[in-house]
């Protein structure tokens, strides 16, 4: 299994509080992704990174920010959590960009509940 961990695995927070989720990899892969998964929507890309300090927005980036100061760590921050951000968050990594032979390896997920 690819070495990807996410922390915390579960979190309950209140509306308006900031929340940071961490993704850590030991594979030295260049690309890292944050997705959210909601029933009926599949996976939706929030932000992704193509290198240290190189990040870009995905399709549902509003209300989220990311940082990547080291190859192995990719942080997702909910600046002011809202109930609509209650979801399961997955981090994924890949060695090369999508479109090449580039399977993505997913972390175990973080279940976030915003009350």
């Amino acid at each position: 299994d690819a070495g990807i961990t996410q922390s915390p695995r579960h979190k309950v927070t209140e509306t308006g509080t900031p929340v940071t989720l961490r993704c850590h990899q030991t594979e030295n892969h260049r690309y890292m992704y944050w997705y959210r998964q909601d029933p009926g929507h599949g996976l939706r890309l929030i932000h992704y990174s193509y290198g240290v300090k190189d990040t870009d927005k995905g399709e549902v980036s509003d209300g989220y920010s990311v940082s990547r100061s080291k190859t192995e760590d990719f942080l997702l921050t909910l600046e002011s959590a809202t109930s609509s951000q209650t979801s399961v968050y997955f981090c994924a990594i890949s060695e090369s960009m999508a479109g090449e032979y580039n399977e993505q390896f997913f972390g175990p997920g973080t279940r976030l509940t915003v009350l």
């Binding site: 690309y31 599949g42 890309l45 193509y50 997955f90 960009m97 999508a98 580039n102 399977e103």
Partner: protein, 111 residues
């Protein structure tokens, strides 16, 4: 634009075959297939590239019809371990690394 997967759910007996489809209204560069079991992370199955190249597990087969922008995943002689939700992720040529995922097809295999 989210690709459309069909069927939404299917129930099979062990040993039966199934086909899961993924259709897009956009011109695609590649299609990715993943399987997710309840409470777990998605796991890679196949990548199909425009032009016919593909990479994936030996026991899984799939096709990519570039004219129709449609991919099909073929599960033959299904086993109990095939149960789960199958997702396709599609990439457009100008997508800038992004995959757009379908809503999933839930597959239940009964003994």
């Amino acid at each position: 634009q989210q690709p459309v997967q069909s069927p939404q759910a299917v129930i099979l007996r062990e040993g039966e075959d199934a086909v899961i489809n993924c259709s897009s209204s956009k011109a695609l560069y590649s299609v990715h297939w993943y399987r997710q079991k309840h409470g777990e992370a998605p796991v890679f199955l196949m990548i199909l590239l425009k032009g016919g190249e593909q990479k994936g597990h030996e026991k899984i087969s799939a096709s990519f019809n570039e004219k129709k922008q449609q991919s099909s995943l073929y599960l033959t002689a299904s086993q109990l371990s095939y149960s789960g939700t199958y997702f396709c992720g599609t990439e457009k040529a100008d997508s800038n690394y992004q995959l757009i995922w379908g809503a999933g097809t839930k597959l239940i295999i009964k003994p």
